[in-house]
């Protein structure tokens, strides 16, 4: 599909009542106490970044920035208070992992325990690449005509 027709389909989808309705809803974040809570814009930027990096453990696949669970609300309050108290990002992440474990972070830090998770994609890529390379080379040696 080329770009033009993709845009056409998208426009059509937006024009349809069902799709349009879904897109027209206000972003969920506005319903949450995410924006404009901290007086300092720098702290607000750090707050939003940290909140997106922390998992809401009730819902597990949402960050605390996206979740309207009560626990997520309380964890956001915790992050905000620690930022106002001048705590570093690391101190906040440590506070959370001390209580909830590494799972609370969406991107776990690279440690011997998590090395496999971080390394697996590269190992897979290398493995797949080697297989493709060998197959292609083998085929290129074959006679062109059957």
């Amino acid at each position: 599909m080329n770009r033009g027709s993709f845009a056409g389909v998208l426009t059509l989808a937006l024009a349809l009542p069902g799709f349009g309705g879904a897109f027209a809803e206000p972003p969920a974040a506005d319903a949450l106490d995410i924006h404009g809570q901290l007086a300092s814009p720098e702290l607000q930027v750090r707050f939003e970044r940290i909140a997106k990096e922390l998992r809401c453990l009730v819902c597990q696949n949402e960050s605390i920035a996206d979740s309207n669970a009560d626990l997520a609300r309380d964890l956001r309050r915790q992050v905000r208070e620690m930022l106002i108290a001048g705590k570093s990002d690391d101190a906040i992440f440590t506070f959370m992992t001390d209580r909830y474990g590494e799972f609370v972070r969406f991107a776990p830090p690279l440690t011997p325990k998590t090395a496999f998770i971080w390394g697996a994609p590269f190992v897979m890529l290398l493995l797949g690449g080697t297989i493709v390379y060998r197959v292609v080379r083998q085929r290129s040696r074959m006679p062109l005509d059957e």
Binding site: L57, V58, D74, Y100
Partner: protein, 183 residues
Amino acid sequence: MWKFLLPFAAFVALVVLFAFGLNPKRDIHALPSPLIGKPAPEFALTDVLNPSAVVSNTSLKGQVYVVNVWGTWCAECRVEHPALLAIAEQHVVPVIGIDWSIDHGLGERDKAQQWLERLGNPYAQVAFDKEGRTVIDWGVYAAPETFLVDRQGNVIFKHISALTQEVWEKEFLPRIAAAGKGT
């Protein structure tokens, strides 16, 4: 030879992976607590039944006790309540309740008092976590959660979801016996 062995090895690896990953007995939502083996977080909160009294776990140092986090908004807590009553009746160790007020105090205390009056009170003491801070300190993410604390004041076990007589006998009692009990 390799052409046969390699796919076969991959197949075996997948079977092992799925046997672990798809095991219906494994609760994928239950997370290991980083608190196990660490000192139990201290708390000093007001008493659910008496707002002017303080419930704290510092005075419990030196004895084995159970901490049960619950709330009146939590359906599973209602499910486990009879089991808690039965456990309390055994008087093995004190069970300390922490009432998790997700509404930050708007009505939860009243509801909790009614709950305990109507259904019975299994707790030696019930703390009122008005702002949900103690609950965060304990790494609680879904009530009910039940912790076991040993004589040294370390958390030695955590059970997530409703407590049952079976879980109590299988998971708690042996650990309490090993911890030297309290009485």
